[in-house]
Amino acid sequence: MKIDISYGSGGKQTSNLINDIFLKNFDNEVLNRLEDAAVLDIKGRIAYTTDSFVVTPMFFKGGNIGKLAICGTVNDLSMMGAEPRYLTAGFIIEAGADSEVIEQIAHTMKIAAEEAGVKIVAGDTKVIEGNGNVYINTSGVGEILKEGISIQNCREQDVILLSGNLGEHHAAIMSERMGIENNIASDCAPLFSIVSDLLENKINIRCMRDVTRGGLATVLNEVSESSKCRVEIEEPSLPVSDEVKGFCNILGLDPLYMANEGKMIAVVPPEQAEKALEIMRNNHYGANAAIIGRITKGTGVSMTTVLGGNRMVDILYGEGLPRIC
C-alpha cells in the first residue's frame, strides 16, 4: 500500500499507520499509553542525544535505515559512558512510500532496539510530498555509568584504539548505488557492549567517539581540536579489509574519510592500552580492534604513511560522493 499525503493529516489514517506499524513493532507499556510525552523510570545522571537519518538506498547489505537510526543514537549515548535506555523515533515519510517498506524498517528497529536494550517510548509521523523516501530522527537518553568521559579529555601520551575495520558502512552503501558486487556489509552495530566491557574492566577511558559521517579523519580532528593536542596515527596499523581497499581503488575513495556505523575510537592512558585492546578484541564487535596512534603536543592530525613518510590528515572539504548516512 502506498502512503499518500492523507496519512499525515493527524486523523484516522495517521492513527492507523501508527497502530498497525509502529505500536505493533515498538510495543511497550510506555509508548502504548500514547500520552503527549512518555514518563521514564531512570536514575542518576543522564546522557541525551539526537540524530537524523537520510540514507539512500534505505536498504543495504548489513542493515537498513531503521537499524542505523537505532545504532547511531545508541552509540552516541554509549560514547559518553552511558547505558542507553530510551529512544524517541520521528518519521518523516515522503508520499509514495510503501507501507510494507515502513513496516520492514520498523521491524528492524524493533530487533535492533532489543539487542541494544532500549525502548522506543515516544514517536511522531509526518507525511510530506516526494518520492517515497523515509527520513528518521531518533533521540535517546541513557544513564551515565562513568562521569568525565569527554572529547576534551585527551592527554599527551594517551593511546588511541580503533575498534575495527574502516569504511565498511560507506562501501556497502556505495556498492549498492554504483552496482558493484562484493560481500561488503555495513558494520552498523550497537557499541554499548564494548563500552561496558571497558568500564567493567576499570579502563580509565579519557574519550570515546563513534566513527560515522566524515570518517576517522573527522573524528581525530575533533579530538585534536577539543583536547588541544596533536593526534599522531600510523597508516600501517589502520585496519581495512582487502575487499574495502579494492572497492576504494575503483572509486578513488579514502577509508580515512569513509563512514562506519559500528566502529569507535577510545583514548586510554598508555599503561592500559594493551589491556583495553584485548578487551575490545574479545568483544564480538571489536574483533579487528587495533592501536592506531597516540596523543602528543601540538595541533592537527598527522600520519606516518606505509612508506614511512609523514603527512597531515585534514577534515573533509565539500562532498566526495553522494551522502551515505
Binding site: 598527522s302 604513511t305 609523514n310 603527512r311 597531515m312
Partner: protein
C-alpha cells in the same frame, strides 16, 4: 638489488643544488601527498604539480555553460564527481544543483547511455573533460549514441592533450629540471611521445606508475640522470605503458576527434592542445566551441605561477588566508588534485 631504504636515504640526504621536478599528472600529485613523499626526500628536491589536473585547467566559461544547461527546463548535466565543486564565473555545479539545476554524478561516461534511454523527456549533456586517457571512452560513447540512435544525449567537451602542454612548459619555463610523465595518459599515447621532448629540451622524462614506490623510483631515476647530466625518456611503468601506446584507443580518438587550439585556465591558449569532435559529429556536441574565454584570472591568484612551478602554493599571498578549500580563489585550491588544495590539507606538518 637496491632497496627502498637506500633510495630514500640518498634522496633525503641530498644537499646539492635545488632540483625542480614537475609531476604533470594530478593523480601523481595526489599520490605524492598521500604517501608523504615530500617528507621522505630532501627539501632541495622540489616536486612541482604541473597542469595535469583537468579540473584545474578547465576554463570557467566551460563550467558556466554546464551550469546554464543544468538550469534549463528538461535538461540534465551528467558529470564525474570531481567537476561538481569547480566554480565557473558565477556558480559551481554543486551550487547550480542547490538553485534547482539538474546534475547527476556518474562513474563512467557509458552510464549515460542507460540514463538517457530510460528518460527520453530529458536532454542529457555529459561534461566530457579529461586527457587522452578518457577521450577514447567518449569515442565509444559517441559510437553507442549513433548505434542506439539516442537523441537526448550530447557531450560538452573540454578535452586536453598533454604533449602540447609539455612543449609549452619546456619552451617557456626554463626552471624545470625534469618531468615525471603521466602514467595513464601514457598507456594511451605511448612513451615514445616523450623521447623527442627529452632530447630536444635536454630534460629527463620518466614515465611512472602511481604507487609510492613508483614515484620514489622515478624521482631517484631523475636524480641519477641529473647527476650524470643525462636527459633520457625512461619508462618505469612497463606493466602498462608501451612505446606506441594503445593503438585501438588511438584509432577511436582519431575517428571522432581532431586537434584544436585550446585555452588552459591559468596558462592561456596553447596551440593544438585539445581534442574536439570532428565536424561530421557536431550533432552530438552541446556547443563546445567557445568564442572567447572571458578569463581574467581571479584577483591576486597566482595559479599560473603555481602550475608552472615558479612558486609553491604557500608563497601565494592569498594561500590559507582569503583562499581556502571552502572559499577557493583559484581552481587549484578546489580540485582534489590541485596543488594549492593539497598543500592546504598538508599545512601544519613539521
Amino acid at each position: 638489488m637496491i632497496t627502498l631504504q637506500q633510495i630514500t636515504r640518498e634522496l633525503k640526504e641530498y644537499d646539492g643544488r635545488e632540483i625542480k621536478i614537475m609531476e604533470v599528472c594530478g593523480t601523481h600529485t595526489s599520490s605524492i601527498f598521500k604517501n608523504g613523499i615530500r617528507s621522505l626526500i630532501s627539501p632541495k628536491i622540489k616536486l612541482i604539480s604541473g597542469p595535469g589536473c583537468p579540473v584545474c585547467v578547465t576554463p570557467s566559461v566551460y563550467v558556466d555553460k554546464l551550469v546554464d544547461i543544468s538550469l534549463k527546463e528538461n535538461h540534465c548535466v551528467l558529470t564525474f564527481g570531481d567537476m561538481m565543486k569547480v566554480k565557473g564565473n558565477e556558480h559551481s555545479l554543486t551550487e547550480a544543483a542547490a538553485i534547482g539545476g539538474k546534475v547527476k554524478v556518474v562513474y563512467s561516461p557509458l552510464d549515460a547511455v542507460k540514463i538517457a534511454t530510460e528518460d527520453a523527456n530529458t536532454q542529457y549533456v555529459f561534461a566530457a573533460v579529461g586527457f587522452e586517457t578518457t577521450t577514447p571512452i567518449y569515442g565509444i560513447l559517441i559510437d553507442e549514441i549513433i548505434k542506439k540512435q539516442i537523441s537526448n544525449l550530447k557531450i560538452l567537451t573540454s578535452l586536453k592533450t598533454i604533449t602540447p602542454a609539455l612543449t609549452y612548459i619546456c619552451e617557456n619555463e626554463k626552471n624545470i629540471d625534469a618531468f615525471i610523465a603521466p602514467g595513464h595518459v601514457s598507456v594511451i599515447i605511448g612513451c615514445d611521445a616523450y623521447k623527442e621532448l627529452a632530447e630536444k629540451y635536454h630534460k629527463p622524462f620518466v614515465v611512472a606508475g602511481f604507487e609510492g614506490e613508483h614515484i620514489l623510483a622515478a624521482v631517484y631515476e631523475i636524480f641519477l640522470q641529473l647527476k650524470e647530466n643525462k636527459a633520457c625518456m625512461k619508462n618505469m611503468y612497463i606493466s602498462a605503458v608501451s612505446d606506441k601506446g594503445n593503438m585501438q584507443a588511438l584509432s577511436v580518438i582519431n575517428q571522432y576527434f581532431e586537434p584544436k587550439d585550446d585555452f588552459w585556465r591559468g596558462i592561456g591558449v596553447i596551440e593544438k592542445s585539445s581534442l574536439r569532435l570532428k565536424p561530421e559529429y557536431f550533432q552530438y556536441d552541446a556547443g563546445s566551441d567557445f568564442d572567447e574565454y572571458k578569463e581574467s584570472p581571479p584577483k591576486g591568484c597566482k595559479c599560473k605561477e603555481v602550475i608552472l612551478g615558479r612558486i609553491s602554493p604557500a608563497e601565494c599571498p592569498l594561500f590559507a588566508k582569503q583562499c581556502t578549500p571552502l572559499s577557493a580563489v583559484g581552481p587549484c585550491m578546489v580540485s582534489a588534485e590541485g596543488a594549492c588544495g593539497i598543500w592546504y590539507k598538508n599545512r601544519g606538518r613539521e
